[in-house]
Amino acid sequence: MAAGSGKVVFKSGVLRWIDDRLPVVSALYNDAVVYQTPRNLNYWWNFGSLAGIMLTLQIITGIVLVMQYTPHTEMAFDSVERIMRDVNYGWLLRYAHANGASMFFIVVYIHMFRGLYYGSYKAPRELLWMLGVVILLLMMATAFMGYVLPWGQMSFWGAQVITSLFSAFPLVGDPIVTWLWGGFAVDNPTLNRFFSLHYLLPFVLVGVVFLHLIALHTHGSNNPVGIDVSKKDKIPFHPYYTVKDLLGLSVFLLFFAYFVFFNPNILGHPDNYIPADPLVTPAHIVPEWYFLPFYAILRSTVYDSLFTPLVVFSYLGITEKLMGVIAMFGSIAVLLVLPWLDTSRVRSATFRPIYKWLFWVLVIDTVVLTWVGGQVPTETVVLIGQIATLYYFVHFLVLMPLLGRFERPRPLPDSIGRPVLSHGAAAQPAE
C-alpha cells in the first residue's frame, strides 16, 4: 500500500516464500505494524479505526441476519419478528445491527468533527477528506435502505418521503421516482431493490475505505499540533497505536453494549413496530436521528419567514421542494470542497484563535439542526431551522474563506516534540 519503506525480510521461510510471490505480508507489515505515526495523537484519533471496526461488525451481523430475513412486503416484518423470537441470539444480532448503524454514524461524525477541528482536510490530505465524504454518502444511502427492510410504518413512509424528493427535479423528476420504485408506488419491487443495494453498498464502502487508507498512508496521519512531523517524532503503529485503539474500542463497546442490551429501541421509532400500511400515514414521519440535521435543512428551505427572498428562484422554475433538495445535497457538497473553501494554511484550531470558536458554534449549529429535524415544523421551529441552515452555509461559504485572510494565527512550534515534552509544565505550546 504505502510508498517507500525498504524491503522487509521475514524470519519465517514460509512467509518469505509467500511474500516473494504475493507481497501482502510485507504490505500488512508496512501498513499495520511498522507504519510511522505521530507520537502525539490524542484519543480523538481513535475514531478512524473504530469506524472501520463498526463497518466490519455491520457487515458480519448483516450477513447473518440475511440468512433469516425475507425481502417481501408480506413476509419481511414477520421474518424480523421471527429473528427476534425464534432464532438463536437473533435478538442480539438484530439489535447489534440496528444500533450498530447508529454507533457507526456517531463514530464517523466524531471522526469528521475531529478532522474539522484539526484541519485534517488540508493539503496534502484533500483527497483523503473527499473520500471520507464519499464514505459518508454511501453510509447514508446504505442506512436509509436498511431502515426500509423491516417494512414497518417508518420504513415504508420514510422510503415514501425520501424517494419522493427526486420528484422535485423538473421534467425528469417523476420518471426518476417511478424508476426508483420499480412501479407506481413504494411496493415489493422497491423493497427488493433496496435489499439488493443494502447488501451491495457496504462492499463498495469497503473499497472506498481502502482508498481512504491508501490516501492516509501516503502522507500519514495529521496530528493535534497540525504541523508536519519529523521522523524522530514518529512511532511505529504497533504496539503503540494498536494498544491505544484497543483500549478505545473496549470503552466504546461498553457504550455500544448499553444500547444493545439495556435500551435497544431508544434510538429507533416506536412506529416501526407497526407493520407497514400504505393507507395509514403516521402522525409524524421522522428519519433516524443521524439524518435529522439534513432533514432539518430540507424542511427549513421554504420560501417563507427568513427565506422569503428566495422566492425569486421560483421564477426560475426552482420550486420550494427542489430548493430544499438542493440545500440538503449542498450541505454535503460544501464538505466535499471544504479543502478549497478554507483559505487558512494553519491546520490545527489550537493555533487559530477565531476558528477555534467558530468550530464550536458549528457544532452547536448541527445540534440545533438535529433538534429541529425531529420537531413538528411549527412557525418557530421553521425559523430556528432557517437560522441554523443559513449559519451552516455561512460558516462554510463565507466565514471559512474570509477567516484565512483576516485571522492571525498563533505562531506554530517547530516540532511536536515541545508540546509533548512540556506536558507537565504550564501548557504553552507556542513560544
Binding site: R39, W44, E81, M84, R85, W91, L92, Y95, Y117, I235, P239, Y240, V243, K244, L246, L247, S250, V251, L253, L254, A257, Y258, V260, F261, F262, P264, N265, P270, D271, Y273, I274, A283, H284, W360, V363, I364, V367, T370, W371, G374, Q375, V376, V420, H423
Partner: protein, 255 residues
C-alpha cells in the same frame, strides 16, 4: 482537555433538549409512571403477574385483539409446565389441512401453533367493531412511546368527558389516548376475571397484569438480553481496566 469538557457539556445539553423536544412532539399526555418489575438493568418479569395477565388477555382482550406472534409453546416462559401448555393450547381450535381428501379441517391447537385470531380477516374485525380495527397486541408495548406505561394508562384512563365535549357514537373518553377519543369501550370492569391464585381482580390489578404480559409478549427475550448484557458489561469493564494499564506500560517510554 477543553475540547473534551466542551463536548461533554454539549452532549449533555443536546440530550436534555432532545428529551424535552420529543415529548412535546408527541403531543400526547405523559402516561402514568409505574415502577415495573421488568424495568432497569436487573429487571425480570414477575411470572405470577404474567400468568394472570395471560388470563386477562385470553378472557378480555382476545375478544377483539389478535396476538399473531404468540405461540402456545412460548407460554412455557410464563412458568407453565408442558402439560399445562398443551391444555392451554387445546382449548383453542385451529384450521388445518388440506387432508388427503383435499378438505380443510378443524383440530385442537397444539403448542407449536400460534394463538388463533378472533376474526378471520381485518374486514370482519372492522365490521364487528363499528369500523375501527382492533390492532394486534403482539408488539403493542414496543409500538407506542413509553409503551408499558402507555398501555397501563389507557386501560385505566377512562373517564367522563369534560363538560361540553361531545362524543360520537362508539367513542369513549380516555385521558391518555392522543386526542382523548378512543374507539375501544372500557375493557376492564372489577372482577371481570376470576384469578386462579385468588388475587382480587380490581381494574388496576388486571391492567397491571395484562400490561406485564404484553410487555413479555413484545420482548420475550428481555431477561436473556439483560442478563447477557450484565456479563458483557462486566467483561468489558475488566478488559478496559487491563488495557488501560497495559497501554500505560507500552507508552511509558514515549511520555
Amino acid at each position: 482537555m477543553r475540547f473534551l469538557k466542551l463536548s461533554a457539556l454539549l452532549v449533555a445539553a443536546g440530550v436534555a433538549l432532545w428529551s424535552a423536544g420529543s415529548q412535546a412532539a408527541e403531543g400526547a399526555v405523559e402516561p402514568k409512571q409505574i415502577s415495573w418489575p421488568q424495568n432497569g438493568f436487573f429487571g425480570t418479569f414477575d411470572r405470577t403477574a404474567l400468568q394472570r395477565g395471560f388470563k386477562v388477555y385470553q378472557e378480555v382482550c382476545h375478544g377483539c385483539h389478535a396476538a399473531k406472534y404468540l405461540t402456545f409453546r412460548s407460554l412455557a416462559d410464563l412458568g407453565f409446565n408442558e402439560d399445562e401448555v398443551k391444555a392451554l393450547a387445546a382449548a383453542y381450535t385451529v384450521t388445518d389441512g388440506p387432508d388427503e381428501n383435499g378438505e380443510m379441517f378443524e383440530r385442537p391447537a397444539r403448542p407449536s401453533d400460534t394463538m388463533p385470531s378472533p376474526f378471520p380477516n381485518p374486514q370482519a374485525a372492522r365490521a364487528a367493531n363499528g369500523g375501527a380495527y382492533p390492532p394486534d397486541l403482539s408488539l403493542m408495548t414496543k409500538a407506542r412511546h413509553d409503551g408499558d406505561n402507555y398501555v397501563f394508562s389507557i386501560l385505566t384512563g377512562y373517564e367522563d368527558p369534560p363538560a361540553g365535549e361531545e362524543l360520537a357514537a362508539g367513542q369513549y373518553y380516555n385521558h391518555y389516548f392522543p386526542g382523548h377519543r378512543i374507539g375501544m369501550p372500557p375493557p376492564l370492569n372489577p372482577d371481570q376475571v376470576t384469578y386462579d391464585d385468588g388475587t382480587s381482580a380490581t381494574v388496576d390489578q388486571m391492567a397491571s397484569d395484562v400490561t406485564q404480559f404484553l410487555s413479555w409478549l413484545a420482548e420475550p427475550k428481555m431477561e436473556e438480553r439483560k442478563q447477557t448484557g450484565i456479563k458483557v458489561m462486566l467483561f468489558l469493564i475488566v478488559l478496559s481496566v487491563l488495557l488501560y494499564f497495559y497501554k500505560r506500560k507500552v507508552w511509558a517510554d514515549v511520555h
